[in-house]
């Protein structure tokens, strides 16, 4: 019965083949999923030590309202009365009148703490990530204001449109366990 073996072989082969195909499909799907979830494990983030606050973050994000926002590291902030991120470089007077404020959208909130200290908070709903205050803080102050991709807004594009436009290649991939590159006395970004 020379062909029986062959027939069995063929059945075996088909079985094995189907099994293999199933494995391949499963492997492919799980590989695909793994790849996807691995891709999802990484997020785009701005390395503040590279960012020059060029303003592209405001206009190049695929979202209508940029996923990038300004943040303040309070450990570095001078709580200055004369905050150069809050006031225009040549303010008419040192009060919160709109004409004296540097932020074009009025996104920086100034709160008196105690003489002579003021706290500066960003209203993210108003911040468009133009980086103007970041420059003001960097030029005169302590550099405590900087830009970060906010992950509650970012849709994690495969290729971040800002990364392509960024003149200093400041956009980098970070693991989701540490999604922010925070400035700080002990956490130099």
């Amino acid at each position: 019965m020379p062909n029986q073996d062959n027939a069995l072989d063929r059945r075996d082969l088909i079985k094995k083949g189907l099994h293999g195909l199933a494995l391949l499909v499963t492997g492919g799907v799980s590989g695909f999923l793994a790849e996807r979830s691995q891709a999802n494990s990484y997020h785009w983030q701005i390395d503040p030590s590279k960012c020059i606050a060029c303003g592209n973050c405001a206009t190049y994000c695929v979202l209508e309202e940029s996923a990038v926002k300004c943040v303040n590291t309070y450990a570095m902030c001078g709580y200055c009365n004369l905050c150069t991120a809050f006031f225009e470089p040549a303010p008419k007077s040192l009060n919160t009148g709109a004409e004296n404020q540097l932020c074009p959208t009025g996104a920086i909130l100034r709160t008196f703490i105690e003489e002579p200290y003021y706290e500066y908070k960003i209203d993210e709903s108003l911040c468009i990530a133009c980086g103007k205050c970041v420059k003001g803080c960097k030029e005169f102050g302590n550099g405590s204001l900087y830009l970060q991709v906010r992950h509650d807004r970012c849709v994690n594009c495969n290729q971040c449109a800002i990364a392509v436009a960024c003149p200093t290649q400041a956009l980098t991939r970070v693991h989701r366990d540490q999604p922010y590159l925070l400035k700080g006395m002990d956490n130099k970004a």
Binding site: I52, C54, A58, T59, N81, L82, P89, E139, G141, P167
Partner: protein, 346 residues
């Protein structure tokens, strides 16, 4: 002999390499490294200090007198002048010494913490701020005394030595600590408004202590017990005779005979001269001298790593400015302007 097919292959490979190289060159050339191609935002979103950085040339009273001195530090923190106009610089954990012409001398002091302040006496004794405490070395670099730490978070940014009292400016506590000559802490005074870690002191020959209260944009005068006697200085970003930004002047030094005070500012990085009553005299160097592209303010790390200028004056009245990013000393000499009214000020 190569076949026509081989030759064609070589052409194709050559073409591909040329196109690839062209692409690389094009992408390097067309990369907008300084973000100058525009972000599409309106003028109200632009931050432009170029007008404020301009200096009236008639106000510049000094010129660079000699080649810049490379300190050999990876970045510079502080500068002082000692006997025979020797120059002492700090960078990281090291002190370097130069003769008055800028030639490096063999003495180097290295500690295991950042060196944050230096003062050198007439006999060559070196008082070093080693982050949170003072150490004293003799002229040959031998350790003579090590004082107690002020405490964690302390950062000694300036030291003044008088015959009886030693003063240490402590950024951590925003106060001046008084010690007796043996290093025993007496007390401290002041609640200075210091948004960033610049806090300089000087001692006048008529026995007064000068302190830069940077957040108030003032130079303040204290008696040796720490009582505030007087002050001068105010804020303006537009008026060059005033101090700019959130906190200035970041450093200062007295001219010979205490005829005037040289001040350094950050933000609008510049060096100016005032007479001893605090009247503006002119510029040693305007903000253009510290152009952004020199690297001084172009790096985002600016300020983050304490990148402000420090200054000392030697016995000939030369102004020595330590530029931290390049870790170079710029040597400025007064231009002879006898017929200038401004020159009468000092």
């Amino acid at each position: 002999m190569k076949s026509t097919k081989q030759k064609n292959n070589q052409w194709v490979i050559g073409l591909v390499i040329a196109v690839a190289l062209g692409g690389v060159v094009l992408s390097i050339v067309s990369t907008d490294r300084f973000g100058e191609k525009g972000n599409g935002l309106g003028p109200e979103y632009q931050y432009d200090l170029s007008e404020l950085r301009k200096t009236d040339p008639a106000m510049i009273l000094y010129k660079e007198a000699s080649p810049r001195i490379n300190t050999g530090h990876s970045w510079g923190r502080a500068i002082a002048v000692g006997p025979e106009d020797q120059i002492y610089t700090l960078g990281g954990q090291q002190l370097h010494v130069f003769d008055s012409t800028g030639k490096r001398l063999p003495l180097t002091i290295e500690r295991d913490k950042e060196l944050t302040a230096v003062t050198v006496l007439k006999d060559g004794s070196i008082y070093l701020g080693v982050t949170d405490h003072i150490e004293i070395f003799d002229a040959s670099g031998q350790l003579k005394s090590q004082w107690e730490s002020i405490g964690s978070g302390a950062e000694i940014t300036s030291i003044v030595v008088t015959p009886d009292i030693v003063f240490a400016a402590d950024f951590g506590s925003r106060s001046v600590i008084r010690y007796d000559a043996s290093g025993q802490k007496l007390d401290s005074f002041g609640d200075f408004n210091l948004p960033s870690n610049y806090f300089d002191l000087a001692y006048t020959s008529d026995g007064q202590l000068l302190a830069a209260n940077t957040g108030e944009h003032r130079i303040e005068t204290y008696d040796l017990k720490g009582n505030l006697m007087s002050w001068w200085g105010e804020f303006s970003n537009q008026e060059p005779d005033k101090f700019c930004g959130c906190c200035n002047p970041i450093s200062f030094a007295l001219l010979p005979g205490q005829s005037g005070i040289v001040t350094c500012e950050k933000g609008l990085t510049r060096v100016k001269v005032y007479d001893k009553e605090g009247r503006f005299v002119g510029f040693v160097a305007g903000a253009e001298s510290f152009d952004q592209r020199d690297g001084l303010t172009a790096t985002p790390e600016y300020c983050y790593n304490r990148m402000g200028l420090d200054v000392a004056v030697d016995s000939q009245g030369r102004v020595l400015v330590l530029e931290p990013v390049m870790a170079e000393i710029r040597v400025y000499q007064r231009i002879n302007t006898d017929n200038s009214s401004r020159s009468q000020g000092i």
